[in-house]
C-alpha cells in the first residue's frame, strides 16, 4: 500500500483533532501535544527515509545512529518552543513532553503493525511497553530537564544539548538491543526506567498533597 503512513496519519489525527476542538481547554493541552507527536512521527519517517537514501549507511546504522538523532531532535522542538516562547511551567512541560513522545509512538507502532503481516500480540506488547514507553521517557527527560535549565540563561543552551545527548544515547541503546539477540533486555529497558520514575512521581505528588492538607 502506497503512502501508508499518510493514510494512518489522517485516520488517527483527524478524529483526535476534532475531539480536541470540543473538549474543555484544560484537557485539550495534552491532546494537542499528542497530535503534535503524531505529526512529528510522519515528519521523522520522511527524514529518516531521505537520510537512508542519501547517506552511505546500512539499515542497522540508520536505526541505531541516525534515527535516534533525528527523532529526538524533532520531538524536542515543540517542547523547546513551549518552554521558551510560551514560557510553560514545570508541571505543564512534564505533561506536554510525555504527550509528544506517546503521540509519536502511537503512529510509529501502528505503522509497524500494518507494515508487517506477521505482527502478533506478543510483538504488540513488546512495541507498546518497549518503543511506546521509550519515546515517552526520552521526550520526558528532555522536557523535565528543560524546566530546570531554562531558569538560568547561562546553562540553557549547554544544558539542552546535554539533555538531548542523553536522550539520543538512550534511544540508540534501545534500538540496538531490540534488534539483537538481547531483545528482552531492550524490552525491559524502558520499563525499568519508567517504574522508578513513576514511583518517585507518585511519592512526590502524595507528599505535596499531604503538605497542602496540613
Amino acid at each position: 500500500m502506497e503512502n501508508l503512513i499518510y493514510i494512518l496519519f489522517v485516520s488517527v489525527f483527524v478524529p483526535i483533532m476534532l475531539m480536541a476542538c470540543l473538549i474543555e481547554s484544560k484537557a485539550r493541552q495534552p491532546i494537542v501535544f499528542v497530535l503534535i507527536g503524531i505529526y512529528i512521527s510522519v515528519f521523522a519517517a520522511e527524514i529518516n527515509g531521505l537520510l537512508r537514501n542519501v547517506l552511505p549507511l546500512s539499515t542497522y546504522e540508520v536505526t541505531t545512529i541516525v534515527a535516534p538523532i533525528t527523532e529526538e531532535l524533532l520531538k524536542a522542538v515543540p517542547i523547546l518552543i513551549y518552554a521558551t516562547v510560551i514560557g510553560a511551567k514545570k508541571e505543564k512541560l512534564f505533561t506536554a513532553s510525555m504527550a509528544v513522545g506517546i503521540g509519536f509512538a502511537v503512529l510509529e507502532n501502528a505503522y509497524y503493525l500494518l507494515n508487517d503481516a506477521s505482527f502478533n500480540m506478543f510483538d504488540a506488547i513488546i512495541r507498546a511497553f518497549g518503543a511506546g514507553l521509550m519515546h515517552g521517557m526520552c521526550t520526558l527527560l528532555v522536557g523535565v530537564g528543560i524546566s530546570f535549565v531554562k531558569k538560568k540563561s547561562k546553562i540553557f543552551v549547554v544544558g539542552t544539548f546535554a539533555l538531548l545527548s542523553t536522550a539520543i544515547t538512550y534511544h540508540g541503546i534501545y534500538n540496538m538491543l531490540i534488534q539483537s539477540k538481547f531483545e528482552v533486555i531492550g524490552f525491559l529497558l524502558p520499563i525499568s526506567t519508567y517504574i522508578p520514575f513513576a514511583v518517585w512521581r507518585i511519592k512526590n505528588q502524595l507528599s505535596k498533597k499531604n503538605s497542602n492538607l496540613s
Partner: protein, 226 residues
C-alpha cells in the same frame, strides 16, 4: 584477539561503567532533593550520560555485526558528560566565584594551561594513521566541550577565595573534576590506540576520580551551607 587483550578491553568497558552508574545512583539518591543546588544535579546527570554512552559502546561491542567507524551515540554520552560538567561549572559556579574583577585576571590566564594541555592531548589521535577521518572528526566533537570544562574546573581550583569560603569548600571537587576531564581524554586516546596497559590504568583512574568527585561535591556543598 588474544585473551589478555580481551580481558583488558572488558576492564576498560566495565570499570568506568560501574563507577559512573554508582555515581549516578548515588547522586539521584543524595542530590535530587528539594533545596539542593542545581550544580549537584548537573554532575549527577553528567554521570548518567556517561554511563549511557558506555552502555551504548558495550552493546555495540556485544551485538554489532560490523565495526561502525566515525560518529555513534556512544560519543554523545561523552559529549553530554562534558556539557553537563560545563553547566555545573560555568553555568552555576562561575557567576559566584568570578565577579569579573581585574584581581582575578591572572587566575584566568593561568587556567588557560588546562585547555592548552587538553588540546595537545588530541594530537596523538589526530596524527594516528590507522584512525578513520570520520573518527578523528568525531573525537574533536568530544574534545571541544572537554576543553571548556577543564578550563573552568582549573580556574575554580586556583581562584583566590575572596568571600564566604565557598571556593575553599568546593576546591577538592574542582581539582578532581579537572583530573577527571583529563582522565577521560586519556581514556579515549587509549581506546583509539588499544594499548592494554594505558587502557586499564586510565579506566581505573577515571573510575576512582568519578566516585571521589561525587563525594567531594557532596562534602563541599554541605560545608558551604554551614
Amino acid at each position: 584477539m588474544e585473551e589478555m587483550d580481551l580481558i583488558c578491553m572488558w576492564i576498560a568497558e566495565l570499570v568506568p561503567l560501574s563507577a559512573t552508574l554508582f555515581s549516578f545512583i548515588y547522586g539521584l539518591n543524595k542530590f535530587f532533593k528539594k533545596g539542593k543546588p542545581l550544580f549537584l544535579q548537573s554532575i549527577t546527570m553528567a554521570m548518567g550520560c556517561h554511563a549511557l554512552g558506555s552502555i551504548y559502546h558495550l552493546c555495540q561491542t556485544l551485538t554489532a555485526e560490523i565495526v561502525v567507524e566515525g560518529f555513534t551515540p556512544a560519543y554523545l554520552g561523552r559529549i553530554g558528560f562534558f556539557l553537563f560538567l560545563i553547566a555545573a561549572s560555568y553555568g552555576q559556579m562561575d557567576r559566584i566565584v568570578d565577579d569579573g574583577s581585574k584581581k582575578i585576571r591572572p587566575t584566568r590566564y593561568i587556567a588557560l594551561i588546562a585547555p592548552v594541555c587538553a588540546a595537545l592531548l588530541y594530537l596523538p589521535n589526530g596524527l594516528m594513521e590507522d584512525l578513520a577521518i570520520e573518527t578523528k572528526i568525531t573525537v574533536i566533537l568530544v574534545w571541544l566541550p572537554a576543553i571548556v570544562s577543564v578550563y573552568y574546573n582549573l580556574k575554580h581550583s586556583i581562584i583566590p577565595d575572596l568571600d564566604f569560603g565557598f571556593i575553599k569548600a568546593i576546591k577538592p571537587y574542582n581539582i578532581l573534576a579537572t583530573a577527571l576531564g583529563f582522565a577521560e581524554l586519556l581514556c579515549l586516546t587509549a581506546w583509539d590506540y588499544l594499548y592494554n596497559a594505558p587502557l586499564v590504568i586510565t579506566s581505573i583512574i577515571f573510575a576512582i576520580l568519578c566516585v571521589g568527585m561525587m563525594f567531594a561535591a557532596k562534602k563541599g556543598a554541605e560545608q558551604w551551607k554551614i
